[in-house]
């Protein structure tokens, strides 16, 4: 603690923090709780009543399942592409001397383009080029949505790559490719895995771009949106709850990995001493 906050100020700081977290988490957690309530009316279930009834009935919802399958395909393809592209972008950033900032901005700026505008404009481009809306068009739209996030994650993991390692390898005769495979790639692998999972989730949950770019088979968020507005039902709560839970678990997994690695690195440092 650098500043002596005093008890009152510290309490105040934590109260605001908890309030902020409640604003973010209380509603979706409430929705999750409702999804375990067997009653038709939304409300908190009693502990004795908890039931997976609505989750079991999801299997009969063919429209939702079809949309989920479509979303999973798109999310996987987006994640693969976004991870590779962001790795290349980060490697280029690492090699660049001048114009680094310009390159960083070029990769990150698409994040600020509103989804409606990007989706609509891209669909206009595709229509003019005679490309029919399909799985591929959604992937194209999601790629630029996921790339800035994947790029930042991978760039952060590049902090582990010391230039001296590469110089040493070069002195020993390793060319660029050898250096990449033997040194850079192993060091940034955790970043690549995180980037893959993050891109997957961003695509899975993306709604506005898919709304304009989806072909005959809509993605899950687009179908959910329609159902949410045409009278909510417990099945919607179950599907939303499941997707929310899966997204949370994926990020938690990454956090745990990160924690575990920090601990291993710590004990390694202690051993070295």
């Amino acid at each position: 603690m650098m500043l002596r906050e005093g008890l009152a100020n510290r309490v105040l700081l934590w109260v605001v923090t908890v309030a902020g977290l409640l604003v973010i988490y209380a509603p979706p957690l409430y929705l999750l709780a409702i999804s375990f309530n067997p009653a038709l009316q939304p409300g908190l279930p009693r502990l004795s009543e908890l039931s997976l009834k609505w989750y079991a009935s999801l299997r009969q919802e063919t429209a939702l399942i079809g949309a989920l399958e479509q979303s999973l395909i798109i999310a996987t393809a987006t994640a693969v592409l976004a991870t590779i592209m962001s790795l290349l972008a980060a490697l280029a950033y690492f090699e660049l001397r001048a114009r680094r900032t310009a390159w960083l901005l070029a990769v990150i700026l698409p994040m600020f383009v509103p989804g409606v505008i990007q989706g609509l404009a891209l669909s206009a481009v595709f229509t003019r080029a005679g490309i029919k809306a399909s799985t591929l068009t959604v992937i194209a739209g999601h790629l630029l949505w996921a790339m800035p996030f994947a790029f930042i994650v991978i760039l952060t993991s590049f902090a582990a790559v010391r230039r001296s390692y590469l110089v040493a390898a070069a002195d020993l005769g390793a060319n660029w490719g050898r250096q990449f495979i033997d040194i850079t790639l192993p060091l940034v692998r955790p970043g690549l895995i995180s980037a893959f999972i993050f891109s997957f989730l961003l695509s899975l949950n993306e709604f506005t771009r898919a709304f304009y770019l989806a072909g005959r088979q809509n993605t899950l968020p687009v179908v959910l949106f329609g159902k949410m507005n045409s009278g909510a039902s417990p099945v919607i709560y179950a599907m939303s709850g499941a997707i929310f839970l899966i997204s949370v678990l994926c990020v938690v997994l990454i956090a745990l990995r990160f924690l575990w690695q920090a601990r291993v690195a710590d004990s390694g440092r202690r051993m070295a001493r």
Partner: protein, 289 residues
């Protein structure tokens, strides 16, 4: 090898650059160019032209008021987010122990990767006539009948927007706090500065770029948002993205893109000015050698 070779950075750059140009820049060029085309209200056809009809349409039917109210909402939401985000970032960076720090960081990261649609929708269950807040208000006896203005109102929209985009304010603040040299704070402490004095004279000025970036990120995200208004707004509620959607019902590309051009000019203008003044890019660049 005798042939001059391309520098390796250009070869690495080519694929992502191509994707950015094809899926990012080209559509934006189309947006600007088509905003000057003309649109026939009878056939819904559009044709190349150099007309300002799309822009003129913004002045009709009170469309410009939607733009103004969007900017006001974005400004208000960004301020609210900063008021919550600054103490939160402070608590995460300076107060939390190591383990709690990781947990809180994870909690702030998760919302980026969950569905904005589902999170906005879940506010309906909280704020609705039969939602928990109305249940509680009646149970405690504050009101007899459910309060109607909680949901499908500007209040609900702003609450939903804060919930959606709060993490966008926290992250840049955390990054900027990490770069504050702790000895400055210790020195202030030694010279007798209390918490508030140290905060206002040392920490706030040193985290200026984080404050601006946090404000900007939320502002920009709100200007581009649509789900929160679609899920939580009242009957006539609108925001630019929803208005673009409405204009597109009659395939009026020129007007939709005229609105888009204005929105993009505001967003990119702010981001680039922010980068010039505060070096936003350096917030992310710091970690890599």
């Amino acid at each position: 090898m005798s042939r001059a070779r391309l520098p390796i950075s250009s070869m690495l750059m080519a694929p992502p650059l191509l994707a950015i140009l094809a899926f990012g820049l080209l559509p934006l060029i189309v947006v600007v160019v088509w905003s000057f085309w003309s649109w026939d209200p009878v056939t819904y056809w559009i044709k190349p032209d150099l007309s300002l009809a799309g822009y003129a349409g913004i002045l009709e039917a009170g469309r410009w008021t939607v733009i103004v109210s969007t900017l006001i909402k974005a400004f208000g939401t960004a301020l609210l987010c900063l008021l919550i985000a600054y103490p939160t970032s402070y608590a995460i960076h300076f107060l939390a122990g190591r383990r709690l720090n990781v947990i809180l960081l994870a909690l702030i990261t998760i919302p980026f990767f969950t569905s904005y649609l589902i999170r906005s929708f879940s506010w309906r269950l909280v704020l609705g006539r039969a939602g928990i807040i109305n249940d509680w208000l009646q149970a405690v006896g504050i009101t007899d009948a459910p309060v109607d203005w909680l949901l499908f109102s500007n209040f609900a929209v702003v609450v939903g927007l804060v919930a959606s985009y709060l993490p966008f304010a926290i992250f840049p603040l955390l990054l900027s706090m990490r770069r504050v040299d702790p000895t400055y704070l210790a020195a202030a402490q030694d010279l007798g500065a209390g918490f508030w004095k140290g905060l206002t004279t040392i920490l706030l000025p040193l985290t200026k770029s984080g404050i601006f970036a946090g404000f900007l990120f939320v502002f920009v995200m709100v200007v581009g948002s649509s789900t929160e208004v679609q899920m939580l707004g009242g009957a006539g509620a609108s925001i630019v993205s929803v208005m673009i959607n409405d204009v597109m019902r009659v395939a009026n590309y020129p007007m939709a893109f005229a609105i888009s051009t204005i929105v993009l000019a505001v967003i990119f203008g702010l981001v680039l000015i922010g980068n010039r003044i505060f070096g936003l890019a350096s917030l992310f660049e710091d970690q890599s050698p």
